[in-house]
Amino acid sequence: MMFLRILTYLSFCLVSSVVIAEDLQLAKLTNYDSNHPAAFSASKISSVLNKLEKRLRIYPRDHEAELLKSILYFKSGKLEQALAELDTLIKKVPDFQLAYLLKGDLLLSKFGNTNNIGQSTILSSIVPRLKEDKKQQLAFLREEAQLRIKALLDNKKRNTLPRQILALGESVDKALLIDKSANRMYVFSRKESGELFEEVNDYYITTGKLVGDKSVKGDLRTPEGVYFVTSWISPDKLPDKYGVGAFPVNYPNELDRRNGKTGYGIWLHGTDKGSYSRPPRDSEGCVVLTNIDLESLKSEIKPGITPVVIANKVEWIDYASWQKERHEIIQAVENWRMDWESMNINKYLSHYGKDFWSASHNLKSWSARKRYLAKSKTYQKVMFSDLSVLVYPKKEQDNQQIAVVRLQQDYRSNNFKSEIYKRLYLTKKDKDWKILYEGR
């Protein structure tokens, strides 16, 4: 009875610490402090549990969902169920360090005060004399846990779409969107209609050791911008630390090089065996996924096609704003196409910004070349298809917006015919989108 009493007493403290007024809150899920008034709603807990079950139905190897389920069980006073869930998880993923940490916490929850993950008062006495690097490791695991919980509770995305992805062409099934501040990668899938797309899954990721946009070689930062996967490197050609393989991306892209950015080898890759996941900020600039997650995505990522948009913070906007932005850019591209077809060379050239460049031209030489070519044309037909629109993350200091358009161009004229894929960088300073870069 006495044991039961303290069990009851402690579990009451734990349960009451989950204040779910509006939504489950991060602080309340990672803090076992008993000084919170009870406003516990079992229905909230069960709705989040349902969300996790749904995630597991879509992606059975969503081990994060299993970990979070255990936390929720614990928070609703079901300690044994929480431990059983963790044991099953550990059996499946024997190198999931965070799962072990949580297991330790839960086992000690009856005997000591734990006000945060991995901060049990008993931990220090049973794992004495933790060296600095281990203390650091513990702090990293705690951070990883918080990021994973935060992602679960994040409701900002509800009824919103990312400003970074406005359109995906017919050949583009998937787009990857990375939020560095949330250590999260979202996977979007193109809908059959082509009009819209939907988020299919999201994953915990590791990014560069230092925060901020990459600018020079070796600065340990993950670049921010619109990129494309360029190839696949299988694990047998790589050192162990890359795990099950790597998808390099095209950093530095045309704009990066124009801006004098240096460095190379920004990859999406797996995790060294021995660890399920890595700390939130631990890479030299690469985006690191767990091996299990990367394996499951491998077949969906297509070199040369799949876009990877990396933002410090993804801009989630409502549907109406999203539609407006999408329309604006698609219309700008369409106006350019029509003016080009119309044979009015001045109108056509008015779509190019003064900072325009291409592989071998600036605006002046480009204009001269186009004016010269126009003289030989009696008719032109330009058709665009497979159009994707991706938008650079907005930065505080920027006075311009940048978008990347990838499209298939079918050009016919009296003396020339071509079918090519093009990449355009568009910029908007005041009210109109202008072409900043045009190339293949």
């Binding site: 402690l10 360090q97 297991k103 005997f111 008993i122």
Partner: protein, 318 residues
């Protein structure tokens, strides 16, 4: 909770099946128990396990059987089952300090392993084990009735009989009154209370959680050597009786609680001198035992009701 309900039900059916299900005399029980111990010592775990399982069925209030069964499961590396058995034993009766200690030992050992995995520290993977117990004389008192053993009783040397059904009924009636009080007073929290015979779920308001209940929890935290929990029971303006500064007192409590290998504190004979709902004065008997010290004292405490419930304001030995 579910488990305790199932367990309680199982227990109830065993008891109501009648005394004839039990061995005719203690000699037979001792013989069976000793046989299980021998088999366990010889490494015949499965046979020993099935004997202990049988003993638990026929003698649900025999702590040594739970403990030794758990010890065998540990030898088979089945920690989950070991913990399950200990929790069952603890649900069966409140006073099984020995089972609580075993469970603590297992959990701490498992937590150590889990933490070392989490932090990738190389620790020698030690086998988790708990001591096998011999049948205590106290366990055999009470003849053909279900046997109750507890550390409390071992310490105050007063044989405790199983409370007759009527008394259980009376206790449940009290619980019911609490429930009604809770419902009528609004703000409801959930609390599980299990009686040895029949677990009941009691819903009681935080405001009616009695000072005695809080003191029981306080003594349990003390027994668990959970210093922070123990200290959290004290009011922010608590003054140590010997004039010690709060900070020094906390330090000395921290030391005193952590130093012994084990502590077992039990409280009894509560006497509510005064209870205004905001302040309560309560006296009680406190039995303290540790591996090195044994003490019985009469205590009086002043508790103050705060936003977080009752907190200890003054504490003195009478």
């Amino acid at each position: 909770m579910l488990r305790s309900v199932i367990w309680g039900a199982a227990l109830f059916s065993v008891l109501s099946a009648g005394a004839h299900a039990l061995p005719a005399n203690n000699n037979e029980l001792v013989k069976t128990f000793t046989r299980a111990q021998q088999l366990g010592a010889e490494g015949k775990f499965d046979e020993a396990i099935s004997i202990y399982q049988g003993l638990i069925k026929s003698h649900p209030l025999l702590p040594e059987a739970y403990n030794n069964l758990a010890a065998l499961y540990l030898k088979q590396k089945n920690t989950r089952q070991a913990r399950f058995v200990l929790e069952q034993g603890l649900h069966a009766h409140k006073g099984y300090g020995v089972l609580y200690e075993s469970l603590t030992a297992i959990n701490v050992a498992m937590a150590r392993q889990a933490y070392s995995k989490a932090l990738q520290i190389d620790v020698k993977p030690a086998d988790i084990s708990i001591a096998t117990l011999s049948l205590e004389e106290e366990s055999l008192k009470g003849k053909n009735q279900p046997i109750v053993i507890s550390k409390e009783r071992a310490s105050d040397k007063k044989p405790v009989e199983v409370e007759p059904a009527k008394s259980n009924q009376a206790r449940e009636n009290e619980k019911e009154k609490e429930v009604i009080a809770a419902i009528t007073s609004g703000a409801i929290k959930r609390e599980a209370v299990t009686s040895p015979l029949k677990p009941v779920v009691v819903t009681s308001a935080k405001s009616v959680e009695s000072p005695e209940t809080v003191l029981q929890a306080w003594s349990t935290a003390w027994s668990a050597q959970a210093v922070d929990v123990y200290l959290s029971f004290y009011h922010e303006h608590y003054k140590p009786v010997n004039g010690m500064a709060r900070k020094n007192w906390e330090q000395s409590r921290r030391f005193r609680l952590k130093k012994p290998r084990w502590i077992q504190v039990s409280l009894s004979d509560f006497n509510v001198v005064k209870n205004t709902g905001k302040q309560a004065v309560i006296s009680f008997k406190q039995v303290y035992r540790s591996n090195s010290f044994h003490d019985v004292s009469d205590k009086q405490m002043v508790l103050i009701y705060t936003d977080d419930g009752w907190r200890i304001y003054r504490e003195k030995s009478l």
